[in-house]
């Protein structure tokens, strides 16, 4: 373990940057942009330090720190990462500079915009690294505020409605979680908010179920699982590009992350009890999201619904009780962050050029902006799950893991993959192929160097994960295993890659 606390630096560096930006002179907007870019890049560099120091062989959490915050009430500052949160942290710090680049043309009050974006990063990193439930709750709420402002002040169209809806849905969910956290706090002896202490607390399975539902309310809204998803299309559609990227890329993952970091380990009995329900909801989400995406007329809304479907895969993988499913789900979180982040950026670029996102307004763009459409196709294919690209690995592992334990649920889930190909390729076809029908579409410019700079890293990673996912899975698997055995004590953790022999007894056929 390195002496330098890279993780804690990474968490608070963006906040310091946000304060710095707040005090920059208002006259020079460029200063704020560059400051934000430099701070986010620096944060990414620091998080590379976390990645390098991380030892996959060590169990449990590492690289964090621990300090008493409020002694009287057992509130501590405890951070740390394992193989799951490590990638979430990396994903956040990686997407952030790209988000800043995507917001380069924000003209209105750039200072406040970038300060909020940086504050958001601190919140997200804190959520992924907190090992004290109070701290976690705090960061969880902290992410809410910048996002609310980003959507409400820099969004499009019905931004205030979207911001309020986002805020209220999330707030109601998180209040229920707060109640559950409080209950856990008083059930823990001595009263403590520390995750380790809470894990040691025995609860009756009836209590567990109620508390699980409290946590689930918050996380299911965030993921989002059908039927708690209705805030998402609005928030995504009206948010500024970087807001959408962060929302899809990171914020949604907070829900899934919360499920496997807190809800499952704290209440394993309840988690097992609710498995059928959650698998059903996840599968419904996969199919529902895909079907609704097909009929969308707005590109951003289409991608938003595709997120509902993809996150359905993530949750499905997490709850089927196999290592393959769990690891696949976690990798799918990263993949979805990259692919969907890239898609939102691309749509943002289209919007900047044409000031519309309606699919019907486009057509034949492949002829006028060939490079752009090439990149778009590439990302679409990754999102569909083309073998060799990132989306495939996660989805395949999820389907494999599902097959092992819940054979028949694979059918609707796989059907979702087919539907994804339909809605994405069909949208691609309508936007980029065919004749150029609108005069405005003939005059738009292809990607510029800034846009290439922000897309290139994404494309590289999309290929890298698709071709060689081993470094990712090596770190994910041990951590995933620890969660899976909570759901299924018999889960085979010895061999992780490749096909696992069918288990002796199948619980649900």
């Amino acid at each position: 373990m390195s002496d330098l606390r890279f993780l804690d630096i990474a968490i608070f560096l963006p906040l310091a940057g946000a304060l710095l930006i707040a005090f920059l002179p208002r006259s020079n907007a460029n200063l704020a942009r560059w400051a934000a870019l430099i701070v986010t890049l620096a944060t990414f560099a620091v998080s590379i330090g976390v990645l390098v120091d991380f030892e996959a062989s060590l169990g449990g959490f590492q690289l964090g720190s621990e300090a008493v915050w409020i002694k009287d009430w057992g509130i501590s500052y405890i951070t740390g990462v394992d193989g799951i949160s490590l990638w979430m942290v990396m994903l956040t710090t990686f997407l952030m500079p790209l988000g800043v680049l995507a917001s380069w043309s924000i003209g209105e009050r750039p200072k406040a915009y970038f300060a909020l974006l940086l504050a958001l990063e601190t919140g997200m990193l804190g959520v992924f690294s907190s090992l004290d439930l109070f701290l976690f709750y705090l960061f969880w709420e902290v992410t809410l505020v910048p996002m609310y402002f980003l959507i409400g002040m820099w969004g499009y169209g019905r931004r205030i409605y979207a911001a309020m809806k986002f805020f209220l849905f999330t707030l109601v969910g998180s209040l229920l979680m707060l109640v559950a956290i409080m209950f856990m706090y008083f059930a823990t002896e001595p009263n403590s908010f520390s995750l380790t202490d809470m894990l040691a607390t025995e609860l009756s399975s009836g209590t567990q179920r109620w508390l699980f539902l409290g946590f689930f309310a918050s996380f299911a809204v965030k993921v989002p699982l059908v039927p708690f998803h209705t805030w998402l299309p609005d928030a995504h559609t009206e948010a500024p590009t970087a807001g959408s990227v962060m929302l899809a890329g990171v914020l949604l993952k907070m829900g899934a992350y919360g499920l496997l970091r807190f809800a499952i380990p704290l209440f394993p009995d309840a988690a097992r009890y609710f498995v059928p329900l959650i698998i059903a909801l996840a599968t419904i989400g996969i199919v529902y999201g895909a079907v609704v995406a097909i009929v969308q007329k707005d590109l951003k809304r289409l991608i938003a619904y595709s997120s509902v479907a993809h996150l359905g895969f993530v949750v499905l993988g997490m709850f089927v009780g196999t290592v393959q499913g769990m690891s696949g789900g976690i990798l799918q979180m990263v993949s979805h962050g990259l692919s969907t982040g890239a898609l939102f950026m691309l749509v943002g670029m289209l919007y900047e050029r044409r000031h519309t996102r309606q699919i019907a307004d486009f057509g034949g763009l492949g002829k006028t902006i060939p490079i752009f459409s090439g990149i778009f196709l590439f990302v679409v294919l990754s999102s569909i799950g083309l073998p060799g690209l990132n989306g495939f690995v996660g989805e395949f592992l999820v389907l494999l893991g599902t097959f092992l334990n819940y054979r028949w649920w694979v059918v609707p889930a796989a059907f979702g993959v087919v539907l994804a190909a339909i809605y994405l390729l069909w949208a691609y076809q309508r936007v980029f192929q065919g004749p150029v029908t609108d005069e405005a579409n003939a005059r738009i410019a292809d990607v510029n160097s800034r846009e290439v700079a922000m897309l290139a890293p994404l494309l590289v990673l999309i290929v890298a994960i698709g071709v060689y996912p081993k470094p990712f899975l090596d770190r994910i698997n041990p951590a995933a295993c620890r969660v899976v055995i909570q759901l299924d004590p018999d889960a085979d953790c010895s061999r992780i890659e490749g096909v696992v022999a069918p288990r002796a007894h199948e619980e649900d056929e």
């Binding site: 409020i70 009287d72 009430w73 409400g152 002040m153 931004r159 205030i160 911001a163 209040l175 409080m182």
Partner: protein, 495 residues
């Protein structure tokens, strides 16, 4: 009759140094005002500020001490300990803050500046005395010393009928509440034969069962008297009207210093004198707390004027503090639980005073030039004055009890203490109220940041107000990041 306890005794001058310094400063301000030329009257403000700073120095010089003076029958009626010093310090800070709010307001408004600052210092003196008072007579004197100058301050705009009305309403309620409180005190005196709190505490636990209804009656009268001072429902009617009609800096003073003064008196009485009979009066506080929170918040929802909104929000905030009183337990082993309730109350009051004063300062800044007191005019303030809008939002967010401001801890500590004491229904009521309250605070924030402004004219905020608000906001953030700043002080401040 024997003259017990009235023998000549030496006075511990150092112990009463803060009060002495403040009293002398008040007279210096008053006399200086006589000789100042009309255009130089504003000098009274720096003089008053210097007086408060000197007082603060005297408070600091006593830090860590535990002493008493003015003994009656062997018990000190005036004590200096961490509790007293913490609140003396808080009163000084509030005093300085209100001075900062007042300066431009009173200088521009053709007021009687010198008299105003004199009255304010006098009222503050009452607060300081209250923190040390440990017998019924001194508590009575202290509370009147807080109230009477405040009444004059709220009627300060002599020609304005609204200000007159504010003063009269405040006066009538204040005097009525004093009378009720005194009647309760006289009954306590009759029951226990003493006015010193420690003596009352030791003898009230052992009174005959037949006298118990009288104890309840006496505490009820005391409580009603204080309920007026701290504007608890249903004795709150004067507060919104007085706040609205009085000059706004005076409203800030009433809502912070005067209210905290009332609470300090109530804390001293309830935690020092009556814990042994807590079973008889605890339900009173529970009912009062619930009514105060709920009514305050519900009425605040439909306010259109920022001062009235803050008035009702302040009423609701009183309710949360009152919850702490409903947690007091009697009997052996209650000491630890009571200490927790007391700490929560102290932390709440300290944080409340700063955030509420900050919100008033922001409201006064906005109303000064280019703005008004109507909430509808706050629309789009962020586009006109980003700094003012951010500060105002910070104070409101703190009042709502949301991170990243200290208000979050204030609410949380009371909430945790309530659950710890296993008064779950009260915790639930608190939670529901916090959500209702968040609604109206955040509605103002939403209007400031999301809505379009009617005018683009920037709101000019004087440097003094900026500095005051900036410091208050910084303090709230600092306490949020590192709550031991205040909890450590409160923890080691038993009565």
């Amino acid at each position: 009759m024997e003259l017990t306890g009235l023998v000549q005794q030496s006075v511990d001058w150092h112990a009463i140094a803060p009060e002495l310094v403040l009293a002398v400063s008040a007279f210096i301000v008053l006399v200086a005002d006589l000789f100042l030329p009309k255009e130089g009257k504003w000098i009274a403000m720096p003089l008053a500020a210097a007086g408060i700073v000197a007082t603060l120095a005297a408070v600091v010089s006593l830090a860590g001490d535990d002493r008493g003076t003015f003994e009656v029958a062997g018990s000190a009626t005036f004590v200096v300990n961490d509790f007293a010093l913490l609140f003396k310090g808080l009163f000084c800070v509030i005093g300085l803050f209100v001075l900062a709010i007042s300066f431009h307001h009173f200088r521009s408004g053709r007021y009687y500046q010198g008299e105003y600052y004199f009255l304010m210092l006098t009222s503050l003196l009452g607060g300081l005395a209250m923190a040390s008072a440990r017998d019924l007579i001194s508590i009575f004197i202290a509370i009147e010393l807080i109230s009477i100058p405040a009444i004059v301050m709220s009627a300060m705009r002599k020609g304005d009928a609204r200000s007159n009305e504010a003063g009269l309403k405040f006066f009538l309620f204040s005097v009525l509440s004093s009378a009720l409180m005194l009647y309760g005190m006289s009954l306590i005196y009759g029951l226990t034969g003493s006015t010193v709190l420690t003596d009352i505490a030791s003898s009230i636990g052992s009174i005959e069962a037949s006298s118990e209804p009288v104890v309840v009656l006496a505490v009820f009268f005391l409580l009603v008297g204080f309920a007026f001072k701290i504007s608890a429902v249903p004795f709150h009617f004067w507060a919104p009207d007085t706040y609205e009609g009085a000059p706004s800096p005076v409203a800030a003073f009433l809502s912070t210093a005067s209210k905290v003064g009332g609470f300090v008196g109530l804390l001293i009485l309830m935690f020092e004198a009556f814990p042994s009979v807590a079973d008889t009066w605890r339900p009173l506080f529970a009912i009062l707390a619930v009514a105060t929170m709920t009514v305050g918040n519900l009425v605040a929802l439909r306010q259109t004027q920022i001062i009235r909104l803050l008035a009702y929000s302040g009423i609701a905030q009183s309710g949360y503090v009152l919850v702490c009183f409903a947690l007091i337990e009697s009997g052996p082993g209650a000491a630890e639980a009571n200490r927790q309730a007391l700490t929560s109350a102290i932390v709440y009051l300290a944080i409340y005073a700063v955030m509420d004063a900050g919100a008033f300062a922001a409201a006064v800044s906005f109303a000064r030039k280019g703005g008004s007191y109507f909430i509808s005019d706050y629309s789009g303030l962020w586009r006109r004055s980003p700094v003012l809008a951010t500060l105002m939002a910070g104070f409101l967010v703190s009042l709502a009890g949301t991170p990243p401001m200290a208000g979050a801890w204030a609410k949380l500590f009371v909430f945790l203490a309530t659950v710890q004491a296993e008064v779950y229904w009260l915790a639930v009521v608190m939670g529901v109220n916090a959500v209702i309250a968040a609604w109206y605070y955040l509605a103002v924030v939403k209007a400031m940041f999301f809505d379009q402004p009617d005018s683009t004219e920037a709101v000019e905020v004087p440097y003094l107000l900026r500095a005051a608000m900036g410091l208050a906001a910084a303090a709230l953030v600092a306490v949020f990041v590192y709550p031991p700043l205040i909890t450590d002080l409160a923890d080691k401040a038993p009565l």
